[in-house]
């Protein structure tokens, strides 16, 4: 990345735009990422929200946003963004609204919607070339309902609907690649514990037009079973172990923006989370731990 205002931590915005006092859980990785995103994005925006944890940010008559908000449904937030963007464009084209009244249209959705129920409307909005920013906070489960297995849940994680000895038998869907296959203007992964990388990516997304999609890994103390004070550490480990590759797709190419070198063992990330405790107790599951490490190694071998 070149031409960035964010070279080091002290370049990050010092005034914070998103209000405090939300009903989010202590240590919520989605909220910390959203704080950082909103600081760069600014309040001249309308957040079109899909059903998820963040729906509870705006509960009548309060909102932490300085800008606007529209709650839609679990499946159709991108279609809501389409309606808002089209209406603003019509008003601008016909001179019925001055340009300074224009807004950035932002979809805010969890992984339950983004990876599953809302994937059709997301794919279609990208295909139509909708000029919008799409933020998925990925806490790897249906967090708002008590962390059931979603299409974003990683292999072997226990959830409230994957309680067997091996945890979740499936594999996390590669949403980044699905989005990139649509050839949108921009796709990036981020995490709140890497704020400079995140800020640069939002800065870049803001400078582009068309569909721009941000996938934020959101460590979740209640769903992943760790202490809220460890949220940032868990995020650091997700990156250092290579479990969560920080990358971007732009101009038809995927580039890794952070290359953890050397990568530390995946089990250092897993052992800090209750959802993976069955891999270590009552006895170590070396086969499964080996498989999880091998999958990460395979990814980076081809990256």
């Amino acid at each position: 990345m070149s031409e960035t205002a964010f070279k080091r931590m002290k370049d990050l915005p010092s005034t914070h735009l998103l209000g405090a006092g939300t009903p989010m859980c202590a240590g919520c990785g989605a909220l910390s990422a959203l704080h950082e995103i909103y600081d760069v994005l600014g309040p001249r925006s309308v957040f079109v929200n899909a059903a998820g944890c963040m729906t509870l940010l705006s509960v009548y008559p309060f909102t932490p946003f300085q800008g606007s908000w529209l709650y839609t449904s679990m499946a159709s937030a991108p279609a809501g963004a389409q309606g808002v963007r089209d209406a603003l464009d019509i008003l601008l084209e016909q001179g019925r609204m001055p340009p300074e009244e224009d807004l950035d249209v932002v979809v805010l959705t969890g992984d339950g919607a983004a990876y599953g129920m809302g994937l059709s409307s997301t794919s279609s909005a990208i295909e139509r070339g909708l000029d919008f920013l799409y933020i998925c906070y990925d806490n790897e489960g249906y967090g708002n309902t008590g962390h059931q297995t979603s299409a974003a849940t990683p292999h072997a994680a226990k959830t409230s609907t994957s309680t067997g000895p091996g945890g979740h038998p499936g594999y996390k869907k590669d949403l980044f690649s699905i989005w990139a296959a649509h050839q949108p203007a921009y796709v990036a992964t981020v995490i709140g514990s890497e704020p400079v990388d995140l800020a640069r990516k939002i800065e870049k997304a803001k400078s582009l037009e068309g569909p721009r999609l941000i996938l934020a890994l959101a460590p979740c103390p209640t769903g992943w079973e760790f202490e809220p004070r460890d949220a940032i550490e868990i995020g650091h480990l997700a990156v250092k172990t290579g479990v969560w590759p920080l990358k971007e797709y732009v101009d038809g190419r995927v580039v890794h923006t952070v290359a953890p070198e050397p990568r530390i063992p995946v089990e250092q990330y897993l052992e800090k989370q209750g959802r993976f405790a069955h891999l270590f107790e009552p006895e170590r599951n070396d086969a499964l731990l080996g498989e999880l490490q091998a999958r990460v190694d395979t990814y980076w071998a081809s990256a």
Partner: protein
């Protein structure tokens, strides 16, 4: 003013064009598709300044419609049947946004079994959503009603979306002469949309569609929307009078056809009522005092007007082109609840189910309904609800079942 031969779908599209709609989120479904094709052609040729966008589902289409209306532009959309049900989550949701727009529904029976032909079970699934609902019986009425619907939806006293219903095939594909009003006249009747505070602007941040905690605020906002819908009865009267003043045509909430001295009345909704009118004329020629109350405004339900129209009548024959499984005709229940306990209400309230999935209602059946209702009035007792279904139809079904049975045996025992 020019007159053109238009289908019901063509009339709906002309209504949207004359209303100067800004935005049309669209999705195809039989028998509605002609509406969006017509609008798309006008948008592409530049005859209509609006923007049409094809979404990937009705769920998304209705979301986009509500979201654009919530941003402050005039929105039109259209659907039918399974599409309306696919979007039903958003039908209820966007009504709560109090963002006004107009959606045409071209009625078609719901699966299963699958059909393309008309009945009202689809649109009645939206009855309790907060959308106002108006049913048409002619192509002229479709055009006029789309214009009326914008007046109702956008009225600051109401601020609710409106469904305008027309019957699939019988009205959607039937050509009738339609007067196309001049744009100037339409401009007198329907002013440009003023979104007031229902909009998104950088200088005036707003939150729409937010959650509430607890039943108290929920009850408040739901009941407020209900009261707004109820106010639409009065506003409808104003709008109908205004339409008559500007265009010389009047469409009352209930069309009372030869009702003044009627002892017996058909009560129904939609385009089959034109056949009931012919039956009323025939019965009148035979000296039978029969009338027709055709309900146009289904939500809000015009309770007082219905009581007035049927007052003095001895028997009502409600013909429902829908079926609420385990209860019966929806209109029958609506009428019963509006009239129960009224001192002038007719003693006899009959229920007939007819026209499901486009099945015709014949003149003979309408005469038979009148005669059965008359007999019930004389006996002082209404018989149980009846399905309009003939011996011949039953025989045809038995033939189909016999073929199905033979073919099944062939599959199960091919060497028999």
């Amino acid at each position: 003013m020019t007159r053109e031969l238009l289908t019901g779908n063509g009339a709906a599209a002309w209504g949207a064009r004359l209303a100067n709609v800004d935005y049309v989120p669209a999705f195809p479904i039989t028998p509605q598709t002609e509406i969006i094709e017509t609008l798309a052609a006008w948008c592409d040729s530049g005859e209509m300044p609006g923007r049409l966008v094809t979404l990937e589902s009705e769920h998304s289409m209705i979301t986009a419609a509500g979201a654009a209306a919530a941003t402050g532009v005039r929105v039109f959309t259209a659907t039918s049947s399974q599409g309306l049900l696919y979007g039903m989550e958003m039908v209820y949701a966007v009504a709560g946004w109090r963002a006004p727009f107009v959606m045409v529904n071209v009625s078609r029976g719901l699966g299963t079994p699958t059909t393309l032909e008309s009945d009202h079970t689809d649109v009645l699934a939206a009855r309790d959503s907060g959308f106002l609902q108006i049913h048409c019986a002619s192509c002229q009425e479709v055009l006029d009603t789309v214009l009326m619907a914008y007046r109702l939806a956008e009225d600051p006293r109401i601020r609710l979306p409106v469904i305008v219903n027309l019957d699939g095939f019988y009205l959607s594909f039937t050509r009738e002469p339609v007067s196309l009003p001049e744009p100037d006249a339409v401009g007198q009747f329907l002013r440009p949309y003023d979104p007031q505070r229902t909009r998104f602007r950088a200088s005036a941040p707003t939150s729409q569609g937010v959650a509430v905690l607890g039943g108290s605020p929920y009850s408040y906002f739901r009941y407020e929307a209900h009261l707004a819908a109820l106010r639409a009865v009065e506003v409808y009267g104003e709008v109908a009078a205004e339409l008559e003043r500007v265009f010389g045509r009047r469409h009352d909430a209930i069309e009372a056809y030869r009702c003044d001295d009627a002892e017996i009345m058909f009560v129904m909704v939609g385009s089959f009522s034109t056949k009931a009118k012919a039956a009323v004329d025939g019965l009148r020629r035979a000296g039978r005092p029969v009338g027709l109350a055709r309900i146009r405004l289904l939500r809000p339900f015009p309770v007082e007007e219905l009581r007035r129209v049927v007052s003095g009548t001895r028997g009502l024959a409600v013909i429902d082109q829908n079926l609420s499984m385990g209860k019966g005709g929806v209109l029958h229940s609506e009428v019963a609840s509006a009239l129960y306990g009224e001192p002038d209400a007719p003693a006899i309230l009959m229920s007939f189910i007819g026209g499901l999935g486009g099945r015709d209602i014949s003149p003979e059946e309408l005469y038979e309904i009148a005669s059965e209702t008359r007999k019930a009035v004389e006996d002082g007792k209404a018989p149980p609800p009846r399905l309009l279904y003939t011996q011949d139809e039953l025989r045809e079904i038995r033939k189909l079942q016999t073929i199905a049975e033979v073919e099944r045996h062939e599959l199960e025992e091919p060497d028999r």
